[in-house]
Subunit: 507 residues, 2 copies
């Protein structure tokens, strides 16, 4: 018995060592990509591309080596007798899961896909500039073909799209998402129509000049209060805001100034800080293992949306922060009441563009994309018919029709990167955020009173314990079940939207 224990320990040590080195390579790639987005001199692009390609390739080679397979074969039966929640057992399971998936896909396919996506991204940039889908169509067709090949490398699932979604949201099935979307579709469309029938709120105070540095300083004050730890993170500017974590002790967020939309910087900073707080809260023991990082993109998005919307667009939040904002911007906001301000930052206005859309319409943008992706992957829609299908659905869901491809089917970067199966995670994030919010409100009835006092530590502490610390230890549905008592469920989010926006619009 002692011998078996020792063998396990040796195998575990070796596996931990290899996975740690793979994590180092991946962290290094992330850091180089962060550098590229934030401060790299333009001349460095080619060399950066080569560096990250090499690092990613070596990480993949090392992780998919036969040695890892043998270690997992040794370890899997050994850890089966450990408690279901044991970290070692979960680590071995997560490693086995990723290993099995990675081994199924031939290296040649990965290289072919990388080449296609590189060409597709280039074509997409051109197509969008020219607002001409036909420029992108051949490459998107190729990407969809590759995705279907990719699906074929894996065991057959109930729906081919299951395989794609599983990469971003482990365990999530097309049937689950379809059921969720079916519930959302009717109720959100109905809500938008009801709000649209009411007088629009006035957000004219946001259409006057604001000083970028002053908004930046205010946003920094807000995220400091939220609990962002600057000794374990940074804040910078980049063209597209993002959060990048290389372990809990070095988590970096970026933001940007959007001319004509002064508070975009604040809300996107709070959004990225939501991601960052999650990363900063993961158990440091998971740092170089496959339990590091977040449970899924959906759970990650639940953290960003919770802080951006459930906190950042709530009345109690602004009861605390609005006087400070008014003091910074007396000429713009001195005459604007808290109530007017709250209504203004929650204006609902169907838009053609996803990234400009509000809380109430956002899911409809996602729904449209997910439905089209599913249709493309199952073959019921062909790429050439995509622009028409897009227009039809926009008309159905939001009552708007894009007049060109740039503000329609070409607006998102995701497909050009081969990221099919990704979009649903945005909506799942919204749903989970409301479930967590309700649960926290139940266990901590002072939730809103705390916010009015600028007290965010109880919320962060609870999220740390309930969600953050676990990293990738639990699959998303399992985690949500553990914390909220039910699986991912659209009801709390729909209830939140209905209550908030019907009150706000008197609808």
């Amino acid at each position: 018995m002692a011998r078996i224990v020792n063998m396990t320990r040796d195998a575990l040590g070796t596996l931990t060592h290899i996975v740690g080195e793979v994590a180092d390579l991946q962290h290094a790639s992330s850091l180089i990509e962060w550098d590229e987005q934030v401060l790299m001199p333009p001349g460095g692009a080619e060399l950066h591309g080569q560096m990250t390609a090499t690092l990613r390739k070596l990480a993949h080679q090392r992780f998919t080596s036969d040695e890892v397979g043998r270690l997992l074969e040794t370890l899997t039966p050994q850890v089966a007798s450990l408690p279901a929640d044991d970290d070692t057992r979960r680590t071995v399971a997560a490693t086995a899961r990723d290993y099995t998936k990675a081994r199924r896909v031939p290296a040649e396919f990965v290289a072919e896909q990388a080449r296609t996506c590189s060409a597709a991204h280039h074509a997409w940039v051109q197509a969008r500039a020219a607002s001409d889908f036909s420029v992108f169509e051949p490459l998107l067709t190729k990407i969809v073909d590759l995705k279907r090949q990719y699906v074929d490398f894996h065991p057959k699932e109930a729906h081919p799209y299951d395989v794609l979604m599983d990469d971003y949201e482990p365990g999530m099935r097309t049937a689950d998402v379809n059921a969720i979307l079916a519930t959302l579709r009717t109720r959100q469309v109905e809500l938008i129509r009801a709000l649209g029938a009411r007088p629009q709120v006035d957000d004219g105070f946001l259409r006057v000049p604001y000083d970028e540095a002053a908004v930046y300083a205010f946003a920094t004050e807000v995220i400091t209060t939220m609990g962002f730890d600057f000794s374990r993170g940074r804040q910078d500017k980049s063209v597209h805001p993002f959060a990048s974590g290389i372990g809990p002790h070095d988590v970096r967020i970026t933001t940007r100034w959007v001319p004509g939309d002064p508070l975009s910087l604040l809300f996107s900073t709070m959004h990225e800080t939501g991601h960052a707080l999650y990363e900063q809260g993961v158990n440091p023991a998971y740092m170089r293992s496959l339990l590091g990082g977040g449970a899924s993109l959906g759970v990650h998005e639940s953290q960003s949306r919770l802080w951006e919307n459930l906190v950042g667009r709530s009345l109690p939040f602004w009861e605390h922060f609005y006087p400070a904002l008014q003091a910074r911007f007396p000429s713009q906001l001195g005459h604007v009441s808290l109530e007017q301000f709250y209504r203004g930052v929650n204006k609902v206005q169907p838009s053609l563009i996803r990234v400009e859309s509000d809380e109430a319409t956002y899911n409809l943008h996602i729904m449209l994309r997910v439905e089209l992706e599913i249709a493309l992957v199952e073959g019921s829609l062909s790429v050439k018919d995509l622009p028409d299908a897009w227009r039809d659905r926009m008309q159905d869901y939001l009552g708007l029709v894009p007049t060109d491809d740039a503000s329609g089917v070409l607006q998102d970067i995701h497909w050009s990167m081969g990221s099919l199966g990704y979009f649903a995670t945005y909506t799942l994030g919204n749903l989970i955020s409301a479930q967590l919010w309700d649960t926290f409100g139940t266990v901590h009835p002072e939730r809103d009173a705390d916010m009015r006092q600028g007290q965010f530590a109880p919320l962060l502490d609870w999220l740390r314990t309930a969600v953050h610390q676990h990293g990738r230890k639990f699959e998303p549905q399992e985690l949500v079940q553990r914390v909220t008592g039910s699986r991912i469920d659209p009801e709390p989010y729909l209830r939140y939207l209905d209550t908030k926006y019907r009150a706000l619009y008197g609808a």
Copy 2:
């Protein structure tokens, strides 16, 4: 024959590919180290350390693999028929040279040395803070032992120190350095004594407050004029100034503000820019090969010292730039004539501290260290006697005696990092800078007139052609010989010092 050519091409392609990936790993380490020095949040230190350790280890493993050995065995005879200056021949030779050296040292020794240096660095920090050499002594003793073991891994050279120096200055021998130092010793000590007998220059205008941002802006103006390409580089702040190049298209320099020494920022920025211009000028075709980067630390230092001193502390340089500096600092410099300013920034003042020392005394600091290192490595001096030996030599060379270890034997970081054999490159850099300067003055008689006009393009163009483009293609002595017509020679530098400083001090 065709078959052999094809085999060579295949082997060359494979070797190029492997060396390219090794370069990617090394570039990634450099970038992560840059990040660490410039902007990493403090929490990231541990993970950064793990990342770079893994990247360096994988680079070493990949480079020292048997496969690389076999490829070199195939290629070396094949490229022997190519012209001596052929890039392919030189690439194979440089790769073989590095491979042979790297293979001689067991991985266990490398790990042991890394551990010792890590402990030694820690001990050195403590020892310096306490100004107590005895805290550092046991670890320095261990480092010297390891260095002697390291020497033993290599074929016997005329002097054991040859092996150590070769890592920083390929081909340089202890006998060469001793001969150079013998010439410098008498003449530099004599010069310092002559200057010391003359009235001191007045640099009181540097002892008043200056605005850091204004000096920074001026320094940026200067290096832009020098030709630093910001589209292929960056400038940041760090605790210790340095230059870091990951290929010619991404070269980063840092600077710092030294309270009480306002122009330190300017001169150190020019110094680092000298390094950066070298890196930016290397043939881009060498980017991921072993011909990338500089020929040696000495040649690198020749570029930094040339721009810092031969340009930056010259009268013609200030004839152009002084009016702009005066305009920025009217209260500090409005009443100071160009002649007074020029004398002030060239004040000679023997100091206990190397990094604070002036052009005329700098080599004496280096000489002392090189002599002590040679004695330690050959065993004629024991580590415990080092502080006394240091004091004796300081008295001989500079007429000063440190009153404590912190301002004496403990002042430099190098030994704690295991960098024995490094110091001589500082002096070699000074010597080469004067040789290049003289040669450029001969081929381009308008050298000083150009500077008076703020025209630096002819100088940079010449350095690009003569030195920069070649990267590591030529060994240092070979390069200096090609460009100046003689090997590394102390005479031009001694002549430069004598002429400049005897005139300046009327000595």
